[in-house]
């Protein structure tokens, strides 16, 4: 039994209630963050968060802490009990998850687990040394363990590793971006990411403006993944569907997107950042969200599945309890690949349009309609005659995502893994598998600053 699961059982032993769920979330991580080619924010974190959910007469209370001594555990249990006693009973409370064997997943790499702080700094140095321009970004790696034990017999634990390098090569008037994420150290090449960012940056010098309007566009994987992530929060959540906030409301079963577009949530895929179970302890399962352009499903946790009624069951998408108000979250989106060998091939399909590397500061203007605004950055170009041409300044876009997805002339064959974690709060590595896409409609509504720092 892992140390985290042992700790979860100790915590469970202190609970006084008819049902209880103990969760331990451990993190050992390091991040060497750099700017102008030197590390300026190096952060090493070690923490174990203990959480106890207690159910008394159908009333649920939650308390969390990070003390694992007996006094700390007793105090935490007392606070959880007080919280439960303070809540009115919820007739729709689904109860705690039953005991179940989680699926076997990959996602743990000894090499990452063995990295020392010095190793992490040296991997950051590998990225910096490979850049001819000032480099901004980070190398980070971590070991995260999630363990749950409950009075219903649940006893599950998973240890995960993750590593990411982010490289922004930038000077005044030029910037380029690249990133890599993997649960295996062998999947990360800091120098390669750095060189890719430099190559992109060199192409952005002399950026020109662009008239607002509707353009055909190529979106590289980081750009498309971020747009879909924002869209997916509401569009593919069971809570949003129940509350009629989702784009999918009233449209399940309808063909609403290009038939080349298929989307799933798949935490079990070894190409991603695999997870075996969610924060309620329910086994993860692959959920088809869009099949050949047809909206086919959304994700559920235990609470929303019960509230929706019928035969619905949790799909294993409960978020941490501190984010319960989000409802179930598709943390592992995966877009099916297309036929194109490269983004350059997509530019040929676009013929006349724009090419976007990365997005910045997205905001949902209308969740129900899927309207999202944001900026492009670090590699925006004009596409002319099917070739990448003039560099462009950063563009403001306001797009209706369903319209963008309604006509996709092409997608690249091999989706790549994009990091979707900004490492707020406790580390819980999430990523999305996305190809590059060509779209017939990308609405540019303004222009901003040029590339570079």
């Amino acid at each position: 039994m892992s140390e985290a699961l042992e700790l979860a059982h100790r915590l469970l032993g202190a609970a006084e209630g008819e049902q209880a769920l103990a969760l331990v979330h451990s993190e050992r991580s390091g991040m060497a963050r750099f700017a102008r080619s030197e590390v300026h924010q190096p952060t090493l974190i070690e923490n174990d968060v203990l959480e106890l959910q207690i159910v008394r007469d159908g009333r649920l209370g939650v308390a969390a802490g990070n003390r694992s001594d007996e006094d700390g555990i007793r105090a935490l249990a007392a606070r959880a009990a007080e919280a439960a006693d303070s809540a009115p009973a919820d007739p729709d409370f689904p109860g705690l998850a039953p005991s179940a064997e989680p699926p076997r997943t990959e996602g743990y790499d000894e090499e990452i687990a063995a990295l020392s702080a010095e190793d992490q700094a040296h991997l950051a140095a590998a990225a910096i040394d490979a850049s001819k321009l000032d480099l901004y970004g980070f190398f980070t790696s971590g070991v995260t363990e999630l363990a749950l034990a409950s009075t219903t017999g649940l006893a599950v634990a998973q240890t995960m590793t993750d590593a990411s390098v982010l490289a922004l090569a930038a000077v005044d008037g030029a910037s380029g971006y690249a990133e890599q994420t993997s649960w295996r150290l062998g999947g990360i090449d800091p120098a390669g990411a750095s060189e890719q960012a430099v190559e992109k940056a060199e192409q952005t010098r002399g950026a020109v403006s662009l008239e607002p309007g509707s353009y055909r566009a190529v979106l590289e994987p980081p750009a498309f993944a971020e747009l879909l992530t924002y869209f997916g929060y509401d569009a593919f959540s069971g809570l949003s569907l129940i509350e009629e906030r989702s784009y999918a409301s009233g449209k399940l079963g309808e063909r609403v997107f290009d038939e080349r577009f298929s989307l799933a949530d798949d935490s079990l895929d070894p190409r991603g950042l695999p997870k075996a179970f969610d924060f309620e302890g329910t086994a993860k399962q692959r959920v088809e969200l869009v099949e050949d352009g047809v909206l086919t499903g959304v994700v559920w946790d235990r609470t929303t599945a019960k509230r929706a009624g019928g035969q619905l069951q949790s799909t294993g998408h409960a978020p941490p309890s501190s984010a319960r108000h989000w409802g179930p979250v598709p943390f592992a989106l995966s877009v099916g690949g297309g036929q194109a060998a490269s983004a350059h091939e997509l530019a040929e399909l676009v013929d006349d349009g724009i090419y976007v590397t990365r997005l910045h500061y997205l905001s949902i203007v209308d969740a129900r309609e899927g309207v999202i605004t944001g900026m492009t950055r670090d590699g925006t170009f004009r596409v002319r005659g099917g070739k990448i041409a003039d560099p462009l300044v950063n563009l403001r876009f306001t797009v209706c995502v369903p319209e963008l997805l309604a006509d996709l002339p092409g997608l690249t064959r091999d989706p790549v893994l994009l990091n979707q974690s900004a490492y707020y709060d406790e580390r819980y590595p999430t990523g999305m598998l996305s190809p590059a896409v060509a779209t017939a409609r990308f609405d540019v509504t303004g222009v901003g600053s040029g590339p570079g720092v």
Binding site: E38, E46, N47, G61, S321, V365, D366, Y423, V453
Partner: protein
């Protein structure tokens, strides 16, 4: 906790650090959230630990440990030094001189929020929610929060401070939906309400239940309101949306670490350059922005920042001219001005960054009614709904929950889905009036993100409604 911090600093110096500081933090938080008359969140969490920051050979190192013990303090110090020694780059970092701070600070409060029973908090939320109910309102929600943070700071230069901060807040939302259209109204702010560094009396004074019927009715009324037409026009913006306008287009660009590029990979940089100080025309003569970490009730109010620099009040924009930056000791030394005072860390497990403290748009004169009275044709915009701004903080687009047509100096019909867009200095240059002190409201937000690994800062902004000419207003674009 002070002894542990002293031990950590001594251990860091022993391991080769030329400078070290240690922060020991114990934070307790409670969140109660209800949604459609069900308790959605009833959480009581506590976290504690020590964070040690060192300079070794001019390179920073930071490490933390959850154990508030001698072992934890030593381990954090040793790891921070090892990380700094391994850091690549040609390092040289100077810190602006500051007298070693000694002192205490404590939030002034009347009613300790942790003495208020959780059941009372739940009941408050449920009552406010019931008052939101309306035929077309499909989702009602209410939340309240409380936080207490005990923090001890010790540096190798002899600083030693002890502070205790208490925050409270709350908010309500009504989501109306009909025929595929959804609209939301919130009070007192969108995105989780408003918070203050105060006791429970702040939450009681919000009057969530009192305001709820208006909020529910407006959400429902928006379903039938026409969309805001696209036009170049005069806008009057309410104090709550002005809070975000100040935050995004003045606060972040004047953070000096962004100006020097250290946030480039994530939050972005700034259109400002160090040499712009004292000369750059940021806005019209009506624009006066002040950074003030002494504001009573402000979430950015403290006795000392996380480098031990005492609280203060500094002009950032004076009569439209850039007059100051938000700084750390390192960036202040770099620009050769000031001694920092804006360094704040999210809890014990993060390194301090340059953050806004309390950043205010100083009041002008007159009432909101008088601002509107000065508009022949325009739009009044209220309560944030969406927000986005480019990586140098130039091009922005904001959406508001509700708007009203202004005709002949009076409010007319309600409009939905309004957005407005602009370029920061052009927009602020079009500012032609700020309402007076009687309209000035202090808002507190808890979701300001920055840094890698990410950090949330709690920040307050005092603002009055303001009027801008020739602004591009649109409908979801």
């Amino acid at each position: 906790m002070r002894e542990l911090c002293e031990q950590a600093v001594a251990a860091a110096l022993g391991a080769g650090a030329s400078y070290a500081d240690a922060r020991a933090v114990v934070r307790r938080s409670q969140v109660v959230g209800t949604r459609n008359q069900r308790v959605e969140r009833l959480d009581d969490s506590e976290t504690q630990g020590i964070g040690v920051r060192v300079l070794v050979g001019g390179a920073w190192g930071f490490a933390c440990d959850r154990r508030l013990s001698a072992e934890g303090a030593d381990a954090a110090a040793q790891k921070a030094c090892a990380f700094a020694k391994a850091a690549p780059g040609g390092h040289r970092r100077d810190l602006a001189p500051v007298a070693p701070a000694q002192g205490e600070f404590r939030t002034h409060l009347e009613r300790d929020p942790f003495e208020v029973a959780l059941a009372e908090k739940v009941e408050l939320c449920l009552r406010a929610e019931r008052a939101l109910e309306h035929e077309h309102v499909k989702v009602t929600s209410a939340s309240v929060r409380a936080q207490r943070e005990h923090k001890v700071f010790v540096s190798s230069e002899g600083a030693a401070t002890e502070q205790e901060f208490v925050e409270c807040g709350g908010g309500i939302d009504a989501l109306a939906s009909r025929d595929g259209v959804t609209q939301i109204r919130s009070y007192p702010s969108a995105h989780g309400g408003s918070s203050s560094q105060a006791g429970w009396e702040f939450v009681e004074a919000l009057g969530l239940e009192r305001e709820a019927p208006r909020v529910g009715e407006q959400a429902a009324a928006l379903l039938q309101a026409p969309p805001c037409p696209s036009q170049l026009t005069t806008v009057v913006i309410d104090a709550e949306q002005m809070e975000l306008q100040v935050h995004e287009s003045v606060g972040h660009p004047t953070e000096l670490d962004r100006v020097y590029g250290t946030e480039a990979a994530y939050a972005g940089t700034s259109f400002l350059k160090p040499e712009d100080l004292g000369s750059l025309k940021y806005g019209s003569e009506h624009m006066n922005v002040t950074a003030d970490s002494t504001t009573p009730g402000g979430l950015g109010t403290f006795g000392f920042d996380d480098e031990g620099v005492p609280a203060g009040r500094e002009p950032i924009v004076a009569a439209g001219v850039l007059s100051g930056f938000l700084t750390s000791r390192e960036t202040a030394a770099k620009i050769g001005s000031g001694s920092g005072g804006s360094m704040r860390a999210d809890n014990w497990s993060r390194m301090p960054l340059v953050r806004m403290t309390n950043l205010h748009l100083e009041a002008g004169e007159g009432s909101l009614e008088e601002l509107i009275g000065g508009v022949d044709q325009g739009v009044y915009l209220e309560t944030n709904k969406s927000w986005s701004i480019d990586d140098k903080r130039l091009n922005f687009q904001f959406g508001t929950q509700i708007a009203w047509e202004i005709k002949g100096g009076e409010l007319g019909r309600m409009l939905r889905d309004a957005t407005y867009t602009g370029q920061t200095p052009v927009f602020w240059g079009s500012l032609d009036a700020v309402a007076g002190p009687e309209e000035w409201i202090l808002h507190g937000l808890t979701n300001c993100g920055k840094g890698q690994p990410g950090q949330h800062a709690h920040v307050s902004h005092g603002t009055s409604p303001a009027r801008f000419r020739d602004v591009q207003v649109g409908f979801k674009q």
